[in-house]
């Protein structure tokens, strides 16, 4: 069976959930092989094997750590040339999409981004994408070269299927061109302790209606174990960081439950949350377009509604 490469997303060897999802998807298409870039591969091995990686290609070349995505794309291209996989699955993060874009050009391959599902149908790899702000669903195939597919978080429930992972170190040196853009400084973001926005099962977002006070939004989110998002209006006003923005120019989320608080529901925002399974809104304005999307809506002042809901949730959860 042909290999399907999965680019591992990890922080110092701690494998992220998206990788388990990608390995689960890869098993539908062929024989999953993980590609690990960076240090601490030993720490990742158990998890990768548990989700069915039959091989772990890796290199701890310093070139892969100090520079941006170019060396990663070169590394993947080298493995593609070596193992002729049928597909390469890459997380649909900004960085992942860049790696995929370069890999597609380097390997003369078709590229599909932001897949929400990938299946094998009649021997063809068929992807599903949500387009035009979630108003259409598209089925697409890559017809030339190796199918290079970036896959969004939450596209498959991770399923374990343990395999013997063969450790496969790869000799690698980046080209000189790969070293032309360099990270010169990095300041880590403060950790919120909340789930990652694109991976969370529940997201609670605040907008203009908060008037800049996100405390009630955060308290309600915490009662549900949810991630906190923000509308563009709230981000532009400086009330919440851009990395928390849900919408066309921010994160696209598709959680089990999305709660929009004080958000009117402009197309810019809908593009980021319209595919959520269940949608709830709290808004003072009963005419707000967000109410057209919701499964449940409360017309009212969030500063009254949310604290009451938070207390009720805490009581129910004991």
């Amino acid at each position: 069976m042909a290999e399907v490469l999965v680019l591992v997303e990890h922080i110092d060897g701690r494998v992220r959930k998206t990788t388990a999802e990608l390995l689960t998807i890869a098993r539908r298409l062929g024989e999953p092989a993980a590609v690990f870039v960076g240090s601490n591969v030993a720490q990742a091995t158990d998890v990768l094997a548990k989700y069915g990686a039959t091989k772990i290609y890796h290199s701890d070349s310093a070139d892969l750590a100090d520079y941006l995505v170019v060396p990663q794309a070169e590394f993947l291209a080298q493995i593609v040339a070596q193992s002729s996989p049928v597909a390469v699955l890459i997380p649909s993060s900004p960085e992942g999409k860049e790696v995929a874009a370069r890999l597609a050009v380097k390997t003369d391959s078709g590229l599909i981004t932001d897949a929400v599902d990938v299946q094998l149908a009649d021997g063809k790899i068929v992807t599903t994408q949500s387009v035009f702000a979630g108003s259409y669903t598209v089925a697409a195939t890559a017809t030339t070269g190796t199918a290079i597919i970036t896959v969004k978080p939450n596209s498959a429930p991770p399923q374990q299927q343990p395999a013997e992972s063969v450790d496969t170190p790869v000799e690698f040196a980046a080209s000189d061109l790969a070293k032309t853009a360099r990270i010169t400084a990095s300041s880590p973001k403060a950790k919120s302790g909340r789930p990652e926005l694109t991976e969370a099962a529940i997201v609670v977002s605040g907008g203009r209606g908060t008037s800049g006070d996100f405390s009630k939004v955060e308290e309600f989110a915490d009662s549900l174990g949810a991630a906190v998002g923000a509308s563009r209006a709230a981000v532009d006003a400086g009330w919440y960081p851009h990395t928390s923005q849900v919408g066309q120019t921010g994160k696209q989320v598709s959680p089990q439950l999305y709660v929009a608080v004080g958000i009117s529901g402009a197309i810019q925002h809908r593009a980021g949350m319209q595919t959520s399974k269940t949608i709830i809104a709290v808004n003072k304005d009963e005419e707000a377009p967000i109410f057209e999307l919701v499964d449940f809506g409360v017309v009212g002042d969030l500063f009254n509604v949310l604290p009451q809901a938070t207390e009720a949730v805490k009581t129910a959860k004991g």
Partner: protein
């Protein structure tokens, strides 16, 4: 300092966007405009040009109507524009688009010191063309810039990621894609609108660029849209008005749907 900004003419995101019979984005039935996200790249180019006695060239690929996108950028203050217009390009994927853009940029005289783009188009939203273009041009690329400084033959960019805020440097010539956090795009002034009418717009075909028509367009695309379907409209749910019990009702809904 010569700057080229790659822009895209897109169907208005506020309109009901759809597909054509050949499964490509419908660009005829929906009003188009300069992609909102490209305005930030135009604005950033103008600011850098103003500070460095530079010139800004706007480059687009698209049908006749894409001239509207160029016009808007010229009205904002760009100096000249290039419109690559060739029927064979219709249906091109990101790979072919990056090829045509690369060839057009290589034909520019003088060659640009800086290539700027928006972070993604508002129609395809892939966000991969800037990176592909850099790969083809052999330029260093820094994407998703929230802040951009050009000095001493270098670009310095601030990029806000989920885990960290990074400073990234690259030597010129370079390609930078910018986010909607980087600036506030200007509106064209009356003077700008009048001046735009006299600014040069070159129109190039694939033949002008030496690009084989067989490498672009729908039949040459390396990906195929097999089918599309409109997402069923969401059923409007239950709306309650808060009469002192809105929060409790919300919690009841959460309980009934097993979120607690």
């Amino acid at each position: 300092m010569n700057i080229v900004v790659c822009v895209k003419y897109v169907p208005d995101a506020q309109a009901d966007r759809t597909f054509s019979v050949d499964n490509t984005t419908d660009r005829a039935g929906v009003d188009g405009l300069l992609s909102e996200l490209d305005e930030y790249a135009v604005e950033e180019a103008l600011k850098i040009a103003e500070a460095n006695d530079g010139e800004v060239t706007i480059l687009t690929i698209g049908p006749d109507r894409a001239a509207d996108a160029l016009k808007k950028a010229l009205q904002m203050g760009a100096h000249r524009a290039v419109h690559v217009n060739d029927a064979a390009i219709h249906g091109s994927d990101a790979i072919a688009t990056s090829l045509v853009l690369a060839k057009a940029i290589q034909k520019l005289d003088p060659q640009p010191d800086l290539v700027l783009t928006g972070m993604a188009s508002t129609d395809g939203t892939m966000g991969v063309v800037p990176t592909m273009l850099a790969e083809r041009l052999g330029l260093p690329a820094v994407t998703y810039a929230s802040e951009l400084t050009v000095a001493d033959g270098k670009v310095s960019v601030r990029r806000d990621g989920d885990l960290a805020s990074q400073t990234i440097e690259a030597t010129l010539p370079a390609l930078v894609s910018v986010t909607d956090q980087i600036n506030e795009p200007r509106y064209p002034s009356f003077k700008g609108i009048m001046a735009a009418k006299k600014k040069p717009v070159d129109t190039w075909t694939l033949a002008d660029l030496g690009v084989d028509a067989e490498l672009v367009g729908l039949t040459a695309a390396w990906t195929t849209v097999e089918s599309f379907s409109a997402r069923p409209p969401r059923q409007k749910g239950q709306i309650v008005t808060d009469e002192g019990d809105g929060g409790s009702k919300l919690a009841v809904f959460l309980g009934e749907h097993k979120f607690l």
